[in-house]
């Protein structure tokens, strides 16, 4: 059997980026990237440091708005709606498209409050009982409930690094997001804590669209079904993860994933 080119069409993309360009002042960091994200596939962004993975990821929930010099061109839609439209509520957008950062950043508050904060400001809970349900559900989905259920009033910052990162994932989950963006979520974690996050990503797949930036190619191979390789601000190759890691089509992708880069 000759290998077929796998069909990469995503039938109902949750998010679509079309010809996205990002500039920091005069410097172009992203050079016309188009990609779709859906709920059924975890998408991994890989590429050498400085190639624009974080920059592009942050366009997906307008985190670049916080960078004064940053300018975004092109179109990005969430359920077909342009997220850069003037009518778009950015606070609402960042709840629908949540983000988990490289360094776990829990609030210096109780574990309970870390989760409850978002639902409260978004008015998702009718009362204390309601909030208790949301907190438990979010911590369960984040795979943290059993470890913290007896000490919900302890400070979130007292948890281990891996637990803190799962708390941050729980915090993102609490506001009922549709997409979760993760920027090198495991790079500050040890291998066991990393394995737990990866396991969690498997469990979250299908319920949320998940995009993960990782500099660890083994991790991309383990957690994702689609991989996008970025180089110098370009999306060089996008494909089924197993294809990318066994038979990449572009020379640049091959050199990078086989350790021949630079």
């Amino acid at each position: 059997m000759t290998q077929e080119q796998t069909d990469l069409t995503i039938a109902n993309p949750k998010m679509s980026a079309r010809d996205v360009k990002v500039f920091y002042g005069p410097k172009q960091a992203i050079k016309g990237v188009s990609i779709d994200v859906d709920m059924d596939h975890v998408t991994a962004f890989i590429g050498p440091s400085g190639c624009g993975k974080s920059t592009f990821l942050r366009t997906l929930n307008r985190m670049n708005d916080t960078v004064a010099s940053a300018r975004v061109e092109g179109e990005i839609t969430l359920d077909g709606e342009n997220i850069y439209a003037p009518t778009m509520d950015v606070v609402q957008l960042r709840a629908r498209v949540g983000m988990v950062f490289q360094k776990p950043n829990p609030f210096p508050k109780s574990i309970y409050e870390n989760i409850a904060y978002g639902p409260r400001i978004h008015g998702l809970a009718a009362g204390k009982a309601d909030m208790d349900v949301i907190v438990e559900k979010s911590l369960r989905r984040a795979g943290l409930w059993d470890e913290v259920k007896d000490r919900l009033n302890d400070s979130g910052t007292a948890l281990s690094g891996g637990q803190q990162q799962r708390l941050c994932i729980g915090r993102a989950i609490a506001v009922e997001p549709e997409v979760i963006l993760m920027d090198e979520p495991c790079s500050a974690l040890d291998p066991i804590a990393t394995a737990k996050i990866e396991e969690l990503i498997h469990e979250l797949r299908g319920r949320y669209g998940i995009v993960i930036v990782t500099h660890n190619m083994q991790q991309a191979a383990r957690v994702s079904q689609r991989t996008a390789f970025f180089h110098l601000g370009e999306l060089v190759e996008y494909g089924v993860t197993s294809d990318i890691f066994t038979n990449p089509r572009q020379e640049r992708t091959k050199d990078y994933i086989t350790g021949r880069y630079g």
Partner: protein, 231 residues
């Protein structure tokens, strides 16, 4: 191809290729010497082929160890991964090829009659030569990542199959006419079958090389009608 950022990785891959090249050379020599021993009824050479097979087995074990080490320590990807997996598979096939050559050599002392009276024997050296060249080319293709050469090997398998069918018919006819040679001719039949299997194995190696080099699998081969079912 560009070098790996980690130099030791390149050294290990080079060593892997070196071992496989050596193994291929030894398998090819084993086939050649076994056929020569048969033609000349040279029992000493035949015994040498049997003894030399140990080195082929040893290389297989060495490659296996190295491949496991490379996978564990380097986590090879893409063409590197295809290469080391191909290496692992190829050595187990070449080890089998060595066994067939050894098997042929082991039959040499069992053929008591002067081979000059066995006319059909004259077909076997050319058949052995084609099979030996296939082994040689398949392993060269691996060393050079040469998909075209691998493809040429696959195509040549038909030549060995045709040889086999012809040898088979000739031997059967000869046995009918010279019943006293039946026991010798039976050995020759097995030898012909061994060579035919060597051709099949060389073809398998070539298919693995093609995949390693291109990332594409070859379409299923069309097989010529065999006189005997596959064993």
């Amino acid at each position: 191809m560009a070098e790996h950022t980690i130099k030791a990785f390149d050294e290990e891959i080079d060593r892997l290729r070196g071992l496989i090249a050596e193994m291929g050379g030894r398998a090819e020599a084993a086939i050649e010497n076994a056929m020569l021993a048969l033609q000349r009824q040279d029992k000493v050479l035949a015994a040498q082929v049997v003894a030399d097979d140990k080195r082929i087995d040893a290389i297989e074990a060495e490659v296996e160890k190295l491949v496991i080490q490379v996978i564990a320590l380097r986590a090879p990807m893409a063409n590197d991964l295809r290469d080391v997996i191909a290496a692992l598979k190829i050595v187990s096939v070449v080890e089998r090829i060595g066994d067939y050559a050894k098997n042929i050599a082991k039959r040499v002392p069992l053929i008591a009659t002067n081979t000059r009276t066995l006319e059909p024997i004259s077909l076997l050296p050319s058949m052995g030569q084609v099979a030996g060249e296939m082994v040689h080319d398949a392993l060269n293709a691996f060393a050079a990542r040469d998909a075209d050469l691998a493809l040429a090997v696959v195509k040549r398998d038909q030549v060995v199959d045709d040889f086999y069918n012809s040898v088979f018919r000739t031997l059967v006819t000869f046995m009918v006419e010279n019943p006293k040679t039946i026991s010798e001719c039976a050995h020759l039949l097995f030898i012909a079958k061994n060579i035919e299997r060597i051709g099949d194995h060389a073809t398998n190696v070539a298919e693995m090389v093609y995949y390693a080099a291109t990332g594409q699998t070859l379409p299923e081969r069309e097989r010529g009608a065999d006189l005997q079912p596959e064993d």
